[in-house]
Symmetry: C2
Subunit: 395 residues, 2 copies
C-alpha cells in the first residue's frame, strides 16, 4: 500500500451528515504545533465567508496548525450568518485539537445560498478530531470530494542533496465537475523545514504554474483555495538558497500532477492538453495568449474532434491582445510542425498532427516570434457531455 504519511501531520475524513448520500463530508489535517503555511485564494470578487477569514489569518501570520474542510455546502452567498458559521468552525476545530482559532484554515465546498447545518458540523469536527491518524490522507481526499469521479491524492519524495523529504497532498474540483459555483481545492503538506518568510512567495510561484494554470472553462469560483504547510519534522536546518530552489522545482512537478488530476477528471472532457506559448514579449502576454487559446470554444471543440485546426489556434492568439509577428509564427503539436515562419506546412503535416491529437495527453506549442517569455496552461476538450452535464445540472 502506498505510504501517504508525512512527519508532523495527521489526517482524517468522515461522514458527519451534510451530504444526504452518506459519503464523507468533513476532513481535518492537523499539525503537532503551528507550522509555516501559505495560501493562494480565488480572485473572484464574490468570495465565500471561509475564504475571507482564511485569507485574513494567513495575511496576519504565515502559519497554521489545522485545516478543516467540509463538502456538500459552500457557505457562499450566505451573508452575516455565513461569516459567523465560518468563524464557529474554526473555534470548534481549535477547541477539539487545542490550538488558537487563528491557526485554523477553514474551507467549504458544495451548494451555495443555503446555511451550513451547524449542529452536525459541530459533532463532525469533534468525532473527526478523535479519529486522526498518520495514514488517513486518502480519507481526507474522499471527504473533500463533491462530484469528482475519483479522489485525488498523491505522495512523493523530494531529494535535496543528501536530504530526503516527504510531500503529500489532495485536490478536488473543478469547472465542469462542479459547475454551480465550482470549487477548486488543493492542500499540500511536507516535512521539510521551510521558513515562514519564504513559504508564501514559493507557493505563489508554484500555484502560478499548477493550480492557477489549469483552465477548464474559465469560470473561477467563490471558494477556490490552495494551501501548503511545512512541518519541518524531517529535522535539520531550514532550506535556503539553491537547496530551496531545488525543493521548489520538485514540489512544482508534484503539485502539477495534482492540478492536472482535476483536468483529467473534467466531466465531459476526454483530453488533457498543455497549451505552451513561447516567444512572447513578456510573461503577462504569454499568459494572455495561452489562456485565450486554452479557453477558446472553437479550439476546445477541435481538440475534441482531433482536428488539427491551426486556423482557430492562431486566430485565438491573434485576438488575445498579446503581440505577435504573423510572419514568424511557429506552431507544433508535440514534435509535429504544422505552421512555420507564418506559413502552413500543408496537408501532410495535418495528418501527422492528427495522430498526436489521437493521444489522451499532448502539448501544443505556439511561438509568437516577438520575444523570449513563455507560459503553459493545462486545458481539456469540450464534448457534447459537457453541455449535457452543465445544462441539466440543477434540474
Amino acid at each position: 500500500m502506498k505510504d501517504f504519511s508525512v512527519n508532523g501531520f495527521q489526517f482524517v475524513g468522515i461522514h458527519c451528515g451534510i451530504k444526504k448520500s452518506g459519503k464523507p463530508d468533513i476532513g481535518l489535517i492537523v499539525a503537532k504545533k503551528p507550522v509555516p503555511c501559505a495560501g493562494v485564494f480565488t480572485t473572484n470578487q464574490i468570495v465565500a465567508a471561509p475564504v475571507v477569514q482564511s485569507r485574513n489569518k494567513l495575511a496576519r501570520s504565515a502559519q497554521a496548525q489545522a485545516v478543516v474542510i467540509n463538502s456538500g455546502n459552500a457557505n457562499a452567498c450566505t451573508g452575516k450568518q455565513g461569516e459567523q458559521d465560518a468563524r464557529q468552525m474554526a473555534v470548534w476545530t481549535a477547541s477539539a485539537i487545542d490550538c488558537s482559532p487563528d491557526d485554523v484554515q477553514v474551507c467549504s465546498t458544495g451548494v451555495i445560498g443555503a446555511p451550513l447545518p451547524m449542529a452536525v458540523i459541530h459533532e463532525g469536527i469533534n468525532t473527526a478530531a478523535r479519529s486522526l491518524s498518520d495514514e488517513s490522507l486518502p480519507d481526507f481526499a474522499e471527504a473533500i470530494r463533491t462530484t469528482d469521479t475519483f479522489a485525488k491524492v498523491r505522495s512523493a519524495h523530494i531529494t535535496v542533496g543528501d536530504r530526503v523529504f516527504k510531500v503529500a497532498g489532495a485536490s478536488k474540483g473543478a469547472g465542469m465537475i462542479h459547475p454551480n459555483m465550482a470549487t477548486m481545492l488543493g492542500v499540500m503538506v511536507t516535512d521539510a523545514p521551510i521558513q515562514g518568510s519564504e513559504i508564501g512567495d514559493m507557493w505563489r510561484r508554484i500555484c502560478a504554474h499548477t493550480f492557477n494554470a489549469i483552465t477548464i472553462d474559465g469560470d473561477t469560483s467563490t471558494n477556490d483555495t490552495a494551501l501548503f504547510m511545512a512541518s519541518g519534522a524531517a529535522g535539520g536546518t531550514y532550506l535556503k538558497g539553491t537547496d530551496l530552489a531545488d525543493f521548489e522545482a520538485q514540489l512544482l512537478t508534484f503539485t502539477a500532477e495534482l492540478a492536472k488530476d482535476i483536468v483529467r477528471d473534467a466531466e465531459g472532457g476526454t483530453k488533457v492538453v498543455e497549451i505552451r506559448v513561447c516567444g512572447a514579449l513578456d510573461i503577462h502576454e504569454a499568459k494572455l495568449a495561452a489562456n485565450t487559446i486554452a479557453l477558446s470554444p472553437l479550439v476546445k471543440t477541435a481538440i475534441h474532434g482531433e482536428d488539427p485546426n491551426w486556423g482557430r489556434i492562431i486566430a485565438a492568439a491573434g485576438r488575445s491582445g498579446a503581440k505577435l509577428d504573423p510572419n514568424a509564427l511557429n506552431l507544433r503539436f508535440n514534435d509535429v510542425n504544422l505552421y512555420r515562419e507564418g506559413e502552413w506546412l500543408g496537408t501532410d503535416s495535418e495528418k501527422n498532427a492528427s495522430q498526436v491529437m489521437a493521444q489522451p495527453e499532448y502539448i501544443i506549442t505556439l511561438n509568437l516570434g516577438v520575444g523570449q517569455a513563455s507560459h503553459g496552461v493545462y486545458t481539456c476538450d469540450f464534448s457534447a457531455d459537457y453541455i449535457r452535464i452543465n445544462a441539466d445540472y440543477r434540474s
Copy 2:
C-alpha cells in the same frame, strides 16, 4: 414584395465558380459615384489581405464607390499572393464599373490557406457588373453566405423631421456558423446625405452596440468587416446636429436587427439573450462584465438548460475584473427579480425566471451597484449541437 432598393445604389449576386455547390459566390454593391463610406474591421492581429487593403483605403479617404465580396474562399493566410489577388479584385471591379481601385472595398469569406481561383473571379466580376440592378440586394445577401442557414437582408425607412430616408443592408456569419476562421460581414447603405467627416465616428458608435456587441463564442476572425455607405441620393442638405443624432439612433436599431440575425442563425444555438450590465463604474467595465457573462460556458449551458443559475452569472461578473459591490448586486430576467441588494430572492423567483428562460429571446440585467455606466451584448446558448458541428467541421 418587400422593396430593398436604396436610391443611388445597385446590387448583384451571382455564381462564378468558387463554390463547388453552384450557389452564389460573388456580389457587388455599386454607387453612381464615390460616396461617403465608413468601415469597422477585425481587431485580430492575424488579418486577411483584403481587410488590410480595404482598411487602408478608408483611412486615406472616407469614401467608396463599390464593394466586391466573394464567398467560398477567405484569402487569409495566403501571403504575398493573397495581397496581390486582393489588389487585383479591386482593379478588375474598378475597370468593370469605371472608377478608381482606391474606391473599391474588397471582402472575402470562406476557407483559409488556399489561393483564390482568380480566373473565375475575373469573369465573375465582369458578368456581375453587367447584371447590376436596383432591386438585387437579396441576391447580394445570397452571394455572401457561407454556411448561414438563411440569407440576412433587411430594409427600413428612417424619418428625421419631415424627411424620409431609405436604409438597407445585408449581413452574414459568424462564430458557430463558420468556425474555421469565421467571418462576420455586414454592409449597410442609405440614401441619406451624410458628410464624410461624420460617417466614420457614427458608424464606429453604431457598431459598438451592434456588430461588435454580438458574442457567440468570443472568437474573432481574420476577415470581419462592417461597411456603411451613404449615397445622399435622397437629396437635401447634409444631416447634422440633432437631425444626425436622430438618424443615428434609428440606424442603430436597424443595424442591431441585422447583427442579431447572425446570433439567431448560430448553429447549435436556440436562444438569443441580451446580457445588459448596468451600475458599472465606466463603460469599459460594463463591457468587461457583460462580455465575461455572455461568453461564460457555464452561463451559456445554463441558458440552454433554461436553468436560472444566478450563481454562475454573479460569479462570472465577480471574476471579470469589473468592480462590483457584492451587497448591492441586482439581477433580473426580463422583469423577474432573482437577486436584490446582494441577496437571493428564493425558489419562487427561480420558478418565475425559468418561465422567462423558456422564451426564445429575453434580457438578463445585472446591476453591479457601483456606478452609472451600462452596456448590452447579445449572446446565444451552447447546445450539444454546437460541439458536434465544431468538432466535426473539417472531417
